[in-house]
Symmetry: C2
């Protein structure tokens, strides 16, 4: 029900995913009457692979997390997360209110023992392919220990979904030299050096998209990570807008634009933010994926596919085991 468009987007995206993956089962959670009406005949097309679970309420985009948690116990968000908790679903995908989704997920699913705080991880395009980055906004202030835990969890996710043995991990900072940064970052660097992770040191903001070396995972506190992510979104918007302007200046440039259309289209596709939609909440005992609220069908489909990939690679179990092993290791030393 969530996001800026609700079932208008989530239903077509769901149907596309069902068509693309014959092993996928989807449960649509929300107002049964609305969902049934939107689905019409299609509900039967997929038989048992597509079902509806009714939820009488919905969390609005401006509901506070605590209000959603306390007053909307039958919201589509809450019911969907309950399905994960009960083992009836392997993941919950939502385009709804991020704060409410995080609070509800944390309350219902609980944290993996040893993890202090959940973090939000997603991928960004880069000149090397793409980069995973966390935290993207769940935590506005992070101690070194939190950054360390984010790195442990994030590296495990990257290992699983990218099938790389030893992903490189960088710590987001304002310079690469040892002396740079605030106390939390410096202390986190110390923890990461001793972590057994493939820690490559400090990286700067440009490493998210185009650093001088490929970095598989970049770790930051949620304030910095969120600002970096949105700064890149703004830069992308400006670039597209200025490029469009240059090609629509006059009749001649418009003519060239027609010729350049397939090239510009391939350029746009390579960096299409919809193909990077979907952020995972890490640190919880269950998989929850947050889609951008403004996601269209393609973007929401990407978020569902992200859930499929993480389920296939058993990411939550692997992270839980890694966290347990890491904490056991630390207690022994």
């Amino acid at each position: 029900m969530g996001g800026d468009f609700g079932p208008e987007v989530t239903i077509p995206a769901s149907l596309e995913c069902l068509r693309a993956n014959p092993d996928l089962n989807l449960i649509l959670v929300g107002d049964e009457a609305i969902l049934k009406q939107s689905l019409a005949q299609t509900l039967n097309d997929f038989q048992s692979r597509l079902s509806i679970v009714h939820a009488s309420e919905r969390v609005e985009m401006d509901d506070s997390p605590s209000k959603a948690l306390k007053n909307k116990k039958d919201s589509s968000m809450r019911v969907a997360i309950n399905l994960v908790k009960e083992g009836r679903a392997d993941a919950c995908v939502s385009a709804g209110n991020t704060g409410a989704l995080m609070a509800t997920a944390k309350f219902v699913l609980k944290m993996i023992p040893g993890v202090d705080r959940p973090a939000i991880i997603s991928t960004l395009p880069s000149i090397y392919g793409h980069t995973h980055v966390l935290d993207l906004g769940a935590n506005v202030d992070c101690a070194a220990e939190h950054l360390f835990q984010f790195a442990i969890m994030g590296a495990e996710l990257v290992k699983a979904v990218e099938n790389v043995e030893n992903p490189t991990v960088g710590l987001l900072n304002i310079g690469e030299e040892e002396v740079k940064g605030n106390e939390q970052v410096k202390a986190a660097a110390q923890l990461l050096k001793e972590s057994g992770l493939n820690y490559i040191g400090y990286v700067e903001g440009n490493s998210l998209n185009a650093g001088h070396v490929k970095v598989d995972l970049i770790v930051a506190d949620g304030f910095v990570g969120n600002v970096a992510l949105k700064s890149i979104e703004g830069a992308a918007k400006m670039f597209s807008s200025v490029l469009k302007e240059a090609f629509s200046k006059n009749l001649l440039t418009k003519l060239v634009a027609v010729l350049a259309y397939p090239i510009l289209k391939s350029f746009k596709q390579r960096l299409d933010p919809r193909l990077y939609n979907g952020a995972s909440f890490l640190g919880l005992r269950g998989l929850v994926i947050k889609s951008h609220g403004g996601a269209d069908v393609l973007a929401f489909r990407t978020a569902i596919e992200l859930a499929e990939v993480e389920i296939a690679h058993d990411v939550i179990r692997k992270i839980s085991e890694k966290v347990e092993a890491t904490l056991a290791n630390r207690e022994n030393t």
Copy 2:
């Protein structure tokens, strides 16, 4: 002498500026023998408008700020800042080591009374023209009071150089809602609401280049500001690289690239980072402009021109007066 290229870049840029502005006087500070040799005949062309002041040492890019300050008292950087202190120069422009430049400037010029910390301000291109942003890395941890002071100083600079009465000021945060952000940002918002500035509230990272409204000045702590700036640099690099790739895929796309060349060139020029080179240190009793270390002739020329603009608008005096008036106001209430 500073930056990645030294006099090879700084001298041609200086000569171009002298040619462009007949009212400009430049003093080149550095190794006299090297400078004289590089200048050859040109030294006489500009007569009294171009002179050399000898400095026997130079700060290296990897010198620590304290080392530069203690052990290199005759560095080109130090001597140039001394000229500002003594009133023999209106500004110092350097492409050298940022940390050393800041430490030396602070030590020699001293702070404007009432300002706790210097900040680094620069401009970024935006869909509305451009945005001023500070702090870009001088301060890794900022209290609300520091952010408030940055806003006061930055707004005064924008007023002076843009000739706008009441520049809009936004505070960089991870959301626009009141509840968002860390304690420092929330407390700074309170101070800004009562500041008399045209404070428009929280803005997100995308507002640097392409927010939903124009913001004249964006205030952030130096860690966040620096990461945002460099994230945008990385995004720009990725965009250019992917665009170039798309146009050089095969013979046909290369042919279209030839046709599109003037369009792509105008696109590139509009966002050319060299035209945004130059960051001002605010809070000091004298004007110091930091150029990117990797600046080429055009970029370094932009940094010199920035100094010309700020001198012409008497920015340092205006900031000093504003700071004094603001502090007096606060003491009276």
